[in-house]
Symmetry: C2
């Protein structure tokens, strides 16, 4: 196979398997090419990704070595996307009764989910995440997107018992927007002990739901790698969680004047983009 | 930029934007290259994808023309994956009380979701799908995956009213596994009139939930492009829907003897793979 064809196939192969170590002999075999040619191919790939600030090709030396594709977005791409997203969220037709915001279109848009997944996968690219956790329903799209780019499984806590999940572990938590004790649960087989878990959700008001997920992670003898939300309601009363990351911060919702103000959250300032 | 670098970037760019027409001048501009060079690049890309039976690069001629990347998996890839998936589903530890099957690990695994999304996007690659619909909770992963490869939005019907979705349209349906009348609903703004909708779900026993989604699609004055499920329980009583497509058919679940039998569903026989 010619270099040009190898490069197309290699790019596709690596993009489909993020965070997975692929050995040089594997590629040499696949293309019936010398290892030195493969190395040159990979150098081209690495350089192209780095020039675009859109992906890292990591080289692991030694006998057990190879290359690993790390989805990683540069600061400028991240900022540009988040400014655009914030301005779209400022659309007053999103305002719902009770100070909620309609986000289902964004959470069902493949191109938004791709960008959001890449952003969160950038932040946690080097955090050795084993699994992503969310709670039904709207956090699922987010969990799936970041899980795709970290290439780890995601698990979904349920708010109601289901017969299609088998034995479960459940916790109680205070749902701060409803001011009542709620329950969430996860199948016992969903998470392995000692996993490093990234918690994600779509919207944070008081953070009650997030404390439920924190509890659940602890019940499974796992550690919390981080807590991320797509939007935080910054105008809401004090939060029940700290150390969370938000992509978008909503500073004001005026339901009578139909005003909603949004801006990028703390994501940009807490992420280390200097990895290229 | 050199051809080798262009090919890497072009592959990534197209893979990230399936079913989207990209004009030749766009690429010529992006790489500061002649249109004839870009045409040669695209020919290499097209040939490489076709040789691997893993993607189609469609050329659209004329002034408004360009290229479009269509995720498309060849028959042999599809068969190989479905046989492997069926054998993994035959694991007796998946059997739950009531003849249900534990599938959450598959529905939370990025590599499975990639394959499943590619398969369904292959079947409907030329069906002009406008949106994918599912009902919470476990169908969401499926809907998101196929929506990603068709590059259309997906919408999630809810079984309970939520204050975070605004006005909704609701329908009643007979949940065949529970033998009772249930309700599902979708925000009025979720689907545009006259959309061509692909319905997906994770598991079909009697098909009651699918009839609910059919109703919902009609209430929105939309058309049904197709109905797909990951698994159908073939041993169950007669189905309430026909013309559905299943990736996996479960022919037997014996909860006492701990036996579960699975095989590829009708997907392979109803899909036209001759498009390369």
């Amino acid at each position: 196979m010619k270099r040009s064809e190898r490069l197309v196939d290699m790019t596709k192969y690596l993009l489909e398997r993020p965070h997975t170590l692929i050995s040089l002999p594997f590629f040499a075999d696949r293309y019936n090419a010398a290892k030195s040619s493969i190395s040159e191919d990979l150098a081209i790939l690495k350089r192209t990704l780095a020039n675009n600030q859109n992906g890292i090709l990591e080289t692991v030396a030694g006998a057990a070595g190879g290359v690993r594709y790390i989805p990683f977005l540069g600061h400028d791409h991240a900022k540009e996307y988040l400014l655009d997203l914030a301005s779209r969220i400022e659309d007053p037709s999103r305002i719902l009764a009770g100070g909620f915001v309609y986000l289902s279109d964004i959470l069902g848009n493949p191109q938004d989910l791709r960008r959001i997944g890449e952003l969160l996968a950038t932040k946690y690219a080097y955090s050795n995440i084993d699994a992503v956790m969310t709670v039904e329903t709207k956090g699922i799209a987010l969990a799936q997107s970041v899980a795709r780019y970290l290439n780890v499984p995601f698990v979904t806590a349920r708010k109601r018992s289901k017969v299609t999940e088998g034995a479960t572990v459940s916790v109680n938590y205070i749902s701060s927007s409803l001011d009542r004790v709620s329950k969430m649960e996860l199948p016992t087989r969903a998470l392995k002990k000692n996993s490093n878990v990234l918690i994600v959700d779509d919207f944070m008001k008081g953070g009650g739901t997030l404390t439920g997920m924190e509890e659940l992670v602890k019940e499974f003898d796992c550690s919390i790698a981080g807590i991320c939300v797509l939007c935080e309601a910054d105008f809401d009363k004090s939060k029940l969680v700290d150390n969370y990351i938000s992509l978008i911060k909503i500073s004001k919702i005026d339901t009578t004047k139909k005003i909603i103000l949004a801006q990028p959250g703390n994501f940009l300032s807490v992420t280390d983009f200097n990895r290229f």
